[in-house]
């Protein structure tokens, strides 16, 4: 259980303790992934539905893999269009899920708040796999997990988040999580991609990408979401790459052992230079591996909420400490 929650909708509503309990659990599952048979029976008999109302490759694969490694039964559904074009309302989607006896729903939706709607209407647990420009909590968690594993801590680190913050759910989840754990976050990007009153997250807004990178422990580079842009936000990709692209030269401003991250998929040569993406500071593939462990942790903690007996069979006994963590908003 994550606190007393049945859902994981965002990092905004989680306490630092809750985040840490997920990260600790994820560490245990990370070890499972290195075993010769990387599979545990924790979610045997549980059914997880992955419902993607927006195209996704890596997040969906990562969730499916996490579910299989936990021995859950999984079903997946992806539509590129909206739920409306399919002619079914979210309420009907919810009713169908309920009727099929699904325990956990992993949902990605183009509309911010769609997972919240399902969470309100379902007894099943809901995991937000990215909603509009709102949050992508498991991505935020896997980024923070990666930072913590790499640098041994989160508190006190200087983290730069670069690019299109306005349209980025990855940025929002990272910002909430990092700030709760005591990191100092600086963002930079085109002024047209900085959302209104963004400093109220508790972040510093740098005037240039160089200023944001200077002295950073971690540089997290956001994907420039071409499909979300309207023409007026930035003149061209060429101009973007020239002014905001993270090059090896710009990276020299950071700490010498800087950690470079990207949530993928990358636009090489645009927001991130080829030699940075593949360079010695890059942990981009490690993020992908860690993503499976973090999603296993989230699934385990949420699915295990009703079945402490089954959960006790798992090899992650120490992770169950999180059950006793203080809770923010009890269910019900």
């Amino acid at each position: 259980m994550i606190g007393n929650r049945k859902d994981l909708l965002g990092l905004e509503e989680l306490s630092a303790e809750e985040i840490i309990s997920i990260l600790d659990t994820a560490r245990t599952f990370r070890e499972v992934l290195d075993r010769p048979i990387p599979k545990v029976p924790s979610l045997r008999g549980r059914t997880v539905a992955n419902i993607f109302f927006e195209p996704s490759t890596r997040t969906r694969l990562s969730f499916e893999l996490a579910e299989k490694r936990l021995s859950a039964d999984t079903v997946s559904f992806q539509t590129s269009g909206s739920s409306v074009s399919k002619g079914e309302t979210l309420r009907d989607t919810a009713r169908n899920i309920e009727a099929m006896g699904i325990h956990i729903v992993v949902i990605r939706h183009h509309a911010s708040g769609a997972p919240h709607y399902l969470a309100r209407h379902l007894d099943a647990g809901v995991i937000n796999a990215g909603d509009g420009a709102h949050e992508h909590p498991t991505q935020g968690l896997l980024d923070i997990f990666t930072i913590r594993e790499r640098r041994g801590r989160v508190a006190g680190l200087k983290v730069a988040i670069l690019g299109d913050v306005m349209h980025s759910r990855v940025a929002r989840s990272n910002i909430w999580g990092l700030i709760k754990l005591g990191a100092s976050v600086t963002i930079a990007g085109p002024p047209t991609m900085m959302p209104a009153e963004v400093e109220r997250f508790g972040v510093a807004v740098a005037k240039s990408v160089e200023a944001a990178i200077e002295g950073a422990d971690v540089v997290n580079i956001l994907r420039i979401q071409l499909e979300r842009q309207r023409g007026s936000l930035y003149p061209s990709l060429r101009e973007y790459a020239r002014v905001y692209g993270v090059t090896r030269e710009r990276l020299r401003l950071a700490k010498s052992d800087v950690t470079v991250m990207h949530p993928g998929p990358m636009n090489r040569g645009v927001e991130i230079a080829q030699d940075v993406a593949d360079g010695e500071h890059s942990v981009i593939l490690e993020q992908v591996t860690n993503g499976v462990a973090v999603r296993m942790a989230v699934l385990y903690l949420l699915a295990g909420r009703d079945t402490p007996a089954e959960a006790a069979e798992t090899p992650t006994v120490e992770a169950k400490k999180s059950h006793d963590e203080p809770t923010l908003s009890p269910r019900g």
């Binding site: 905004e12 309302t89 979210l90 911010s112 708040g113 509009g132 929002r172 209104a196 997250f201």
Partner: protein
């Protein structure tokens, strides 16, 4: 013919004439017959007078709402002229001006005539149709404005959409200048609005919804003020939501420009924080804005910059308003909650006196439309609203007469309990519980 009515012992507010007095009000043959002892003796001695005891209640000219969507013709699953005017009567409104964004829009004489006829057949309140500015509300070609006005239209507007093209706005103002009707503008720059669904600010940033900046409204208010100044035409700004717009209106009025404005209750009692749970019932256009905007609107109402108080009653079906925020349509219902919300927002905190509030909901909107009305002087239409100013009641959408249940005020306790609504001397709404009349 309905029998004469005597409203006994209420506090009569006739703010257009500066009267606030406890007296009997006599209605006969669709008109105000007289006050107290001044009513004709022959009437007072008639045996068929229906006497209604309204002691403890306020008796005022019937409320008028110059901004509603009745959805007929074409969208009868959302509202009809019958249900919309029933809702109006329940909310204390004796007259409503309906916007032309129906399906098809009210852009030709037969369509205006249709609304006038349906209102006569099935209406429970007076209905003043507003004609489209452009054919199909497409913003390209002007409608036959004079013909539409002769058919019964009281104003022109492309509401739901702005008149985007400044040249067309200029010509519309020129063509209506000498006709005594305003051009009502849904002030919104469509490019600045973009794909926005809520106010652009900290809340939209935090919850990841696309924002609509306040200037999307204000730039068009400024443009239209200049066009009204240049043409001498009269422009009325619908549903003002932003502090910057209030500021422009105030300055334009000081310059003598013929410009007026209205706002709606939700902008005075809610802010963008109401959107935090992604509840589509908090989605309307223009959107709920910041606390600073809300305060500026209240100030604008208090000092008269915003002339009248409307509702922008916009019914939608439950299915349409269910689901995610992005795909839900803009708009909420307002007729059955407006009086209570306005008393709560404006009178209880003493921004307006009760007579001042009534003025903004009666004579002022008539004035904006260039019509006489909104008074209880003898001989006037017997359009009367009786309400209890302070007695609380609870908003229950399930009790609405409107087909629309899309209100963000479910469960709110409000003052301003409507007891009786009289249209042309006929009782259009009477609260079931007679006890409430005491």
């Amino acid at each position: 013919m309905t029998s004469p009515l005597c409203l006994r012992g209420g506090r009569i507010l006739d703010p257009a004439r500066g009267i606030d007095r406890s007296q009997d009000l006599w209605l006969d043959q669709g008109r105000v017959a007289g006050w107290g002892e001044d009513a004709p003796a022959a009437l007072r001695s008639r045996p068929d007078v229906e006497v209604i005891d309204v002691r403890g209640a306020v008796v005022c000219p019937g409320l008028v709402d110059i901004h509603v969507h009745l959805r007929e013709p074409g969208q009868e699953d959302r509202e009809t002229i019958e249900t919309g005017t029933l809702a109006a009567a329940r909310g204390g409104f004796t007259a409503v001006a309906c916007m032309p964004n129906t399906d098809p829009p009210l852009d030709e004489r037969p369509r205006i005539e249709y609304v006038v006829r349906r209102a006569r057949e099935a209406g429970h309140a007076r209905v003043f149709p507003i004609a489209a500015v452009t054919r199909g509300q497409l913003g390209e070609q002007l409608t036959e404005i004079q013909d539409l006005i002769e058919a019964g239209a009281v104003a022109i507007s492309d509401d739901g959409k702005p008149v985007r093209n400044a040249e067309i706005m200029r010509r519309a103002l020129e063509l209506t200048r000498d006709l005594g009707v305003p051009v009502i503008q849904h002030a919104e720059d469509p490019d600045l609005k973009g794909s926005g669904v809520m106010h652009e600010g900290w809340v939209s940033t935090r919850i990841g919804l696309a924002g609509i900046p306040d200037v999307a409204e204000s730039v068009m208010v400024a443009r239209d003020a200049l066009l009204a100044e240049m043409t001498g035409g009269r422009v009325h700004i619908a549903h003002v939501s932003a502090a910057r717009s209030v500021d422009i209106l105030r300055k334009a009025k000081a310059r003598g420009i013929r410009i007026t404005g209205e706002t709606a209750p939700h902008y005075l009692v809610l802010t963008d924080e109401a959107v935090e749970t992604y509840d589509p019932r908090a989605k309307m256009n223009p959107p709920l804005r910041s606390a600073r905007d809300r305060d500026a609107l209240i100030e604008g109402v208090a000092d008269g910059t915003l002339d009248c108080l409307a509702t922008d009653h916009a019914p939608h079906t439950e299915i349409d308003k269910d689901g995610d925020f992005d795909s839900a349509p803009f708009g909420i219902v307002g007729l059955e909650t407006a009086l209570g919300l306005y008393i709560k927002a404006l009178v209880e905190p003493k921004h307006l006196t009760l007579p001042e509030l009534i003025l903004r909901m009666t004579a002022k909107p008539y004035e904006v439309l260039g019509r006489r009305g909104g008074t209880l002087e003898p001989g006037a239409d017997a359009d009367v609203t009786v309400f209890h100013p302070s007695e609380p009641w609870t908003v229950r959408a399930s009790e609405f007469k409107s087909k629309g249940r899309n209100t963000p005020f479910e469960g709110w306790q409000l003052p301003g309990r409507v007891l009786l609504t009289i249209v042309g001397g006929r009782i259009a709404y009477r609260e079931a519980a007679e006890a409430a009349l005491r």
